[in-house]
């Protein structure tokens, strides 16, 4: 417990010095890691091989809309409706933004 408290204080001190950059960095890393899960089928950075859709450099809003349409069932799919159901709307938006920011 005591060690935890000390760590927490150190963390607070460190984050104060960093003026929020640690939190922002952690969020970027978290989104990058969520997006990496998509790369199993859409390849690293969303630069897909033949057979599946390439995501790198695509329009963020269009990608997000498409994911939301899969999630709601509006857009027919074999499995994307089952996968998008596992993510919050905000997470889908963040993942769309990540792939949109990758070079084509």
């Amino acid at each position: 417990m005591k060690a935890n408290m000390i760590n927490k204080l150190k963390w607070l001190a460190a984050s104060a010095l960093c003026v929020g950059t640690v939190g922002a960095q952690a969020e970027v890393s978290q989104i990058r890691l969520w997006a990496a899960a998509c790369a199993t089928c859409h390849s690293t950075g969303g630069h897909a091989q033949e057979g599946n859709e390439s995501l790198a450099g695509k329009d963020k809003d269009e990608m997000f809309q498409k994911l939301m349409d899969y999630k709601s069932g509006r857009k027919p799919a074999t499995l994307m409706h089952q996968l998008t159901a596992g993510y919050s709307d905000e997470q889908l938006l963040q993942i769309s933004a990540y792939f949109a920011a990758q070079k084509k």
Binding site: Q30, L33, Q49
Partner: protein
């Protein structure tokens, strides 16, 4: 103080967590020179090696130790058994990991691990130091549960073909040599085993081959489990629609021994069964190196890990991935999952070595395709999210599911899945 020791201290976490965080905010990461050794170049280990380099901006030195010259994929290997793909189609080199990502690939076996000195001893005699070690050894078969398989030549005659490689091709050759009217018998071990839908897909592929080349032949499935373990309705439909009268499925048949000389299966409660071609998939546990390093804390079979880092619950600074781990609820032992483990472990190891915060909310998916005919496939998909209270990965309620029906479109996606996971893991 040596640089490596410094990095180790920072990586150790609690003692100087503040320092680690501060170095983390100044530049992203001071892990230059930190050494990670990855044992095993399957889906888990190869992915971890590549993503360690990507996520650390190539600051972490990564050595991958793998005895095989090439990567041979278990997914799609049933298509080789069925005669629809060649070994070359599922075999890939490790060269891109070296050329594009700067992973040092060492073709060797790990003889032993010293967790105190943090060194890996190679079979050839060399020694590799590590700050963090990733063990991704895949599965080993529990041959002691099938005494007859210890007899000379038994394992060359009765094949498992459950590690893609020479046995995949050898099984194909046995099927080609089998006369029409013969019986192919496949046995399935109690879960958990590698690739839950794999045996049922294999039955489809063998039956598909028989249907065109040897129509008087039969496929017998003896399952130690009390029912089909994955995509049950879809496999039952495929067997009825395409292989009616050719595939026979018998649940609750646990093999207790094999007489390879007479191709005979012995069961705990049922009569012996003699087949023309026997394909015995034995019980499984984590690979030997995991067991020899005392990582197999669950039942002496699987390795328990912390699902935020994949660090072993038994041995510090050692992370375990892929089929070798004690899985979380509803998490299959699959290539897709091992690839996901690799990335999440890589991110955690980079964070630990650079003193950054761990990713608090891992979310990743699984998708397993199975071919039911030469061109039609079905899938099972799931999404898994970290539960901070239960400290494990749990399926997200409302997500996941299986195909509505087998289709050519899913066959097309299955091949696309393979090309993409191969690229993501190796290219």
């Amino acid at each position: 103080m040596q640089r490596r020791q410094f990095v180790q201290t920072v990586g150790a976490g609690s003692a100087v967590a503040g320092l680690g965080l501060m170095s983390g905010c100044a530049t992203s990461g001071r892990a230059s020179g930190a050494k990670v050794v990855v044992v095993g170049g399957g889906y888990g280990g190869a992915t971890a090696a590549k993503y360690l380099r990507l996520f650390s901006d190539e600051r972490i030195q990564v050595t991958l130790v793998e005895p095989n010259a090439n990567f041979v994929s278990c997914p799609m290997s049933n298509l080789v058994v069925g005669g629809y793909k060649k070994m070359a189609d599922i075999t890939m080199p490790y060269t891109n990991l070296e050329k594009r990502h700067g992973v040092k690939v060492v073709r060797d076996m790990v003889a032993s691990i010293d967790p105190d000195k943090r060194t890996v001893k190679l079979a050839s005699g060399g020694e590799l130091p590590y700050d963090r070690l990733i063990v991704s050894p895949g599965i080993e078969f529990m041959w002691d549960t099938l005494p007859g398989m210890a007899k000379a030549g038994a394992r060359d005659k009765v094949l498992h073909a459950w590690k893609a490689g020479p046995q995949t091709l050898a099984l194909r050759q046995q099927l080609e040599a089998m006369p029409d009217g013969g019986v192919y018998a496949l046995t399935i071990p109690l879960a958990p085993y590698r690739c839950p839908p794999g045996p049922y897909e294999r039955a489809c592929m063998v039956a598909s081959y028989f249907k065109t080349a040897k129509p008087k032949s039969k496929v017998m499935i003896f399952d130690a489990n009390d029912g089909i373990q994955s995509k049950k309705g879809l496999f039952m439909k495929a067997w009825k629609d395409h292989y009616d009268g050719m595939i026979e499925y018998r649940p609750s048949h646990r093999v207790i021994d094999v007489d390879a000389a007479t191709n005979t299966l012995k069961f705990d409660f049922n009569d012996d069964f003699k087949a023309t071609v026997l394909n015995v998939v034995p019980n499984m546990r984590a690979g030997d190196i995991a067991r020899n390093t005392q990582l197999t804390t669950a039942n002496d079979r699987w390795c328990e890990v912390d699902f935020l880092t994949f660090e072993s619950k038994a041995v510090r600074y050692i992370h375990v991935l892929g089929d070798a781990i004690q899985v979380a609820p509803a998490m299959p032992k699959s290539a897709h999952m091992a690839n996901q483990h690799g990335k999440n472990c890589a991110a955690a190891v980079v964070a630990l070595l650079t003193g950054q915060d761990l990713q608090a909310l891992p979310i990743y998916a699984n998708t397993c395709y199975s071919f039911v005919t030469a061109n039609e496939a079905v899938h099972v998909a799931s999404v898994h999210r970290y539960d901070a209270v239960k400290k494990t990965m749990l399926p997200v309620p409302g997500s996941g599911g299986v195909s509505k029906a087998a289709s050519h479109l899913e066959g097309h996606y299955a091949l696309g899945w393979a090309r993409n996971i191969w690229a993501d893991t190796l290219a």
